[in-house]
């Protein structure tokens, strides 16, 4: 292999590397800088070609998390977490179910597969347009029971003001610390069982610190002067339904590829050993599918954290009951011209997504190298 060939390969990649360096990393840094300024507070500067920006530190972030006027952002953050959890659960359960059914080789398998997967090829805008009509308060799904002689439903799909699982925003640091602390306890126990001493120690210390903080300091911390309740807005149920409709085919495809990769000999061996059908799934097949579940969770999670178009199409940009941070960023920046605050919301989103994606990318590359 000549060195000039290696040089060519570098030269070929250079334009892409430069473009991504600017458009991804450069722009992220620039957004980060904007989020630390006052861009947009002065309407004159907001839309000027060369706005004069003043550095003001973390003020935008402080406002978002504790400011009186930004309760909408806090609700959005809570909404997006609930949305993500229910959306992933829905896609995983339905997708696995469909894959298990198709793995049993029904007749016309290709047809079933096509039906389960076709929403994937649609745009979230198309899906949203259809489901917006499905979920009209006095039509669509609500009158569906009448078609079989049942009374009609009256759920306010996209506009319900009700929320469940409410908690006080002041308790957020406490709840987060307690949750992460418990996860750390779990990690420490697992590490000890695997005999990894450093990992046990680090996780153990983190767990003690977090739980100690949650017990001793957390209850006394006040982010806001008063109680501010946030929970799972029931108006999101309709959007989750549409999102599962669109994306569960994806988990089905992942699981099906995984199931088809299980060698027949393995199933055979389990049967010979006298395992029941369920026992075979539980002790042979499901463990083999764990990495797929993890991949799917991460991919769906990052899609869900930045979901924007589906909500825009189903409920519009100004429906506070179904608002999410990705939508709020768009509205804040491009309708309200509060660019600095918009950039701050964008950075919070980036941190959320990066927390999911970076460990995933790192582990994937480690596995590839091994």
């Amino acid at each position: 292999m000549k060195t000039s060939d290696r040089t060519w390969s570098f030269v070929v990649l250079l334009p892409s590397v430069i473009l991504l360096a600017i458009f991804v990393y450069g722009f992220i840094i620039q957004s980060g800088w904007f989020s630390l300024t006052d861009w947009g507070q002065d309407p004159v500067q907001a839309l000027s070609a060369h706005p004069v920006l003043h550095f003001q530190g973390l003020a935008n972030y402080r406002d978002l998390f504790t400011g009186f006027l930004d309760a909408r952002f806090r609700q959005d953050l809570v909404s997006t977490i609930f949305f993500t959890v229910f959306f992933i659960a829905g896609c995983l359960i339905l997708g696995l179910g469909m894959a298990l059914l198709l793995d049993r080789n029904p007749r016309g398998e290709a047809v079933w597969r096509t039906i389960f997967l076709f929403p994937m090829s649609l745009s979230f805008i198309v899906t949203g347009t259809i489901w917006r009509w499905m979920l009209q308060p006095s039509g669509g799904l609500n009158v569906l029971p009448q078609a079989v002689g049942l009374p009609k439903g009256n759920f306010e799909w996209l506009s319900s003001g009700a929320a469940v699982l409410k908690f006080d925003w002041n308790r957020l640091p406490l709840l987060t610390a307690a949750l992460v602390g418990l996860i750390m306890v779990y990690v420490a126990v697992r590490a000890q069982r695997d005999g990894a001493r450093t990992r046990t120690l680090v996780a153990g210390i983190c767990a003690v610190l977090l739980l100690g903080w949650a017990l001793l300091i957390g209850p006394r911390l006040k982010l806001l002067p008063g109680v501010e309740l946030h929970g799972f807005n029931l108006a999101l149920v309709g959007i989750i339904l549409a999102a599962v409709w669109q994306m569960s085919g994806y988990t089905m495809a992942l699981y099906l590829a995984g199931l088809r990769g299980v060698p027949d000999e393995l199933r055979e061996a389990a049967r010979v050993d006298g395992a029941s059908e369920w026992g075979m799934y539980r002790s042979v097949i499901f463990p083999l599918l764990t990495p797929i579940t993890l991949s799917a969770t991460i991919i769906l999670g990052h899609i869900s954290l930045k979901i924007f178009d589906l909500v825009f199409a189903m409920a519009g940009p100004d429906n506070s009951a179904t608002d999410v941070p990705a939508l709020l960023m768009y509205v804040t920046s491009f309708r309200g011209n509060e660019f600095a605050k918009g950039a701050a919301i964008g950075m919070v989103l980036l941190i959320l997504v990066a927390a999911v994606i970076i460990p995933y990318l790192v582990s994937q590359f480690r596995r590839a190298e091994a």
Binding site: V12, F27, R113, I115, L122, M134, Q364
Partner: protein, 285 residues
């Protein structure tokens, strides 16, 4: 992990009395969940505006009204044209870039190539909200704001990670011996690409083109921020059509069908490759 779920018959598939009928019942019920929205979509698109009543949502249209489609075409036909131009140009450009990148990354690895690739890949996952304001400013500053070329630029640049990933995985299956033999024959970087790699790349190109075409056609955030009325692609036009309060529901439904047909056709005709792109986007090979 770019395997596609093709039907493989397990020779020992269990045959139990109750199992199989139950399986079909489950399949039918799940299919209803996926197909009911399609029924409602088509039925509503074919109703006359005065026949669209929330109480009779589920009924078949009394008179079939095909005019919704021509009316919707008047409103979003131009945007469909924009989307087509955008998707074709952006797809071809990003496929070409991805092919050469994937080739360089899989067959001529230099030190740090994997790290570089991981850094590139991150660009695929970022929420575009975190780069949107600088992108918006940049596009304005080079005078592209409101032009379809602004969208092409964004889609080509942010498409590089996924197209590179798919081609890199595709070329990884090309035996190294083939490259070595060509090197011994005196071929270099470009002649190997031209004579050995490119000719066998067609399946790779099909996967990338289908995947990118679908993604670009379906994209919304860039469409909403970088374009103006004359250059808006169909997703944005449809969202405006459907969001408008005065419009009767047959129009957005007809518009949704028209906006969905190109990607739906791609999926039905070339579903195998669509699924391959889908799986490639999630798991590294």
């Amino acid at each position: 992990m770019t395997a596609i779920p093709t039907p493989v018959t397990h020779t020992a598939a269990p045959r139990r009395g109750l199992g199989r009928p139950l399986m079909y019942v489950a399949l039918v019920i799940i299919s209803l969940f996926f197909l009911i929205p399609v029924y409602l979509l088509i039925v509503t698109a074919l109703k006359t505006p005065d026949a669209i009543d929330l109480a009779t949502t589920w009924a078949l249209p009394g008179t079939w009204n095909w005019a919704s489609f021509s009316q919707a075409w008047d409103k979003i036909g131009r945007n469909l044209g924009n989307s087509l131009f955008l998707a074709v140009v952006a797809t071809l450009l990003s496929a070409m870039i991805g092919s050469v990148n994937g080739y360089a990354l899989s067959k001529w690895k230099f030190r740090g190539a994997d790290t570089l690739f991981a850094l590139m890949l991150f660009g695929m996952f970022i929420p575009y909200q975190s780069v949107l304001i600088p992108l918006f400013q940049f596009v304005k500053s080079i005078g592209l704001y409101g032009s379809i070329w602004a969208l092409i630029l964004a889609h080509v640049v942010y498409g590089i990670p996924i197209t590179t990933l798919i081609f890199r995985n595709f070329y990884a299956d090309v035996p190294g011996a083939l490259i070595e033999a060509a090197t011994i024959d005196g071929a270099g970087f470009w002649s190997i690409y031209g004579k050995v790699i490119f000719p066998i790349s067609i399946p790779g190109f099909v996967v990338v083109i289908i995947w990118q075409f679908t993604q670009v056609w379906n994209e919304f955030l860039f469409a909403a921020t970088l374009t103006n009325t004359s250059s808006q692609p169909v997703t944005y036009a449809l969202s405006q059509l459907a969001g408008g309060q005065a419009v009767s529901w047959n129009l957005p439904m007809a518009g949704a069908i028209m906006a969905a047909i190109p990607t739906l056709l791609v999926y039905i005709l070339l579903g195998r490759y669509f699924v391959r792109g889908l799986l490639a986007g999630s798991v590294k090979g």
